[in-house]
Amino acid sequence: MSDLTAIIGLEVHIQLATQSKIFSSSATETGQAPNSLTDPVTLGLPGVLPVLNKAVVDYAIKLGLATNCKIREKSIFARKHYTYPDLPKGYQISQHDKPTCYEGWLNIRVNKQSKKIGITRIQLEEDTGKNIHLANEPFSLIDLNRAGVPLLEIVSEPDMRLPEEAGAYLRILHQLVKYLNICNGNMEEGNFRCDANVSVMQANAQEFGTRVEIKNLNSFKHVEKALAFEIEQQKKLIEQGVTIIQETKLWDEVNEVTKSMRSKEYSADYRFFPEPDLLPLIIDENWIANIKDNMPELPSQTFERLVDTYKLDEYSAELLISDKYVADYFEKALTSHYNPNGISNWITTELFGRLNKESMEFLDCPVSPKSIAILVKLIDTGIISGKIAKTVFDIMWRTGKDPQSIVKEQNLIQISDNIFIQEIIDSVLKQNPTQLQTYKAGKVQLFSYFVGQAMKASNDKVNPELLNEMLKKTLEQ
């Protein structure tokens, strides 16, 4: 039935890239030995008290401003109670009715349409530890290194209608937190986590349908797939007259289905109350102004600058701002050789292509911005051909050497010597008399055959434009 509409809202948790935890001074690193990054506060030992890490507030204000949120003058922390082995104190320190940022929005673009997605709130809270369930063992293991790592919970309004909109929102948000340099953004490591709420209703209904929460979504693709699956399923059930029950589901990424979680034995009554150990957090205008003054450029601003200053087309600019590192890389390259379009093309085609092929992150790219710039310069000044440049790029990638040395060592300098080129042309034509005859009889397509033979004879080193020009002249004679 086409008159059913899905309503999607997202809850994103980002781990902040601070040095220490939100309420104590142990490190926030990942990949360390279990329980090696803990202290009495992290372990929830008797008698300890939390003290708020100021950097966490700075980061929250940054994100709040970047998402057009209001920054609350007085926020209060609250305790959220539930019993779980990875929750050391038996409560999570979070915010409840007074979150630090609220009523913001982000613009997304889907199918060339722009849409505003509301942000209900951004709240500060602490992460839990990790429960490791071992298959076929009657016990679980608990690592509290993650406990107390600062989180921002970003709750959207239920403004999305399509899985692609959810995907676009997440990509924009992800891009933003990376630009702000407040989160490492690695979804697989859990730096950037997403839960989705989805319901389906008649398009003209006044009230939303019963919502289902989907957890365990650790990539943008999975969010979209899980939502698409769940929406289809809810639509089918509604068409069959089945009532949707409010529940939490897990995304099974192997079978690509959403599955009901077994209902928890504990009823969720979190017994929130204001945290007596933490003082009210007051954020005044000076503090906000100070953060504003030190805000990095946001992706939308970078986009405009790339289009205005460097006259890039919107598509290329969009690709370059997809990741803050790419935009930085691009601008850094320009300082070595000013050819915005040429460098943009090399980044978005060759560099991206290679990174994809090798499944690498942009940060790990072995080619420096300067090297790419020099490579483009070598092409622009006619020293090497575009084709040779690809060979040089491959060597740069593998060895990390700079393009000039490679060109020199491998003797790849383009030949623009007329006499030498004429000699090659003459010898190619001489060696291919049949083809020459056919050409002269009118089969002009053979022109490229001669070009190929000539390039081959010169080990691809002759200047292709010059070769074309001279070959044409020779054949016309």
Binding site: V51, N53, F139, L141, S267
Partner: protein, 96 residues
């Protein structure tokens, strides 16, 4: 306010406390009596009264974003009822 045994059991669950039937009965009586007494509060009009969350008007206590020494794992192990390979060890959930 009369408190049912069901309420006591629910609260015991929230409190993660196992109570025997005997204890449930006792708690029902004692907590009922105390809660009943608490209703003395309804005597006062608190319509326009702000709740007190903090006694003093202090605000904004922070720590700097620095890393201090972690607790050595041997000390954690010494406190733990069960510890294995650097992890706290607990039996699994009943459902699993």
């Amino acid at each position: 306010m009369y408190i049912t045994q069901e309420t006591v059991r629910h609260i015991a669950k929230l409190s993660a406390l196992e109570l025997s039937d005997e204890e449930v009965k006792k708690a029902q009586q004692q907590i009922g009596e105390i809660i009943n007494y608490m209703d003395i509060l309804s005597k006062v009009d608190t319509t326009d009264v702000e709740p007190t969350l903090h006694i003093h008007n202090a605000i904004n206590a922070f720590s700097e974003d620095i890393i201090l020494e972690a607790l050595p794992v041997e000390k954690i192990k010494a406190m733990a009822p069960e510890f294995q390979d650097g992890y706290f060890k607990v039996p699994k959930f009943i459902n699993n």
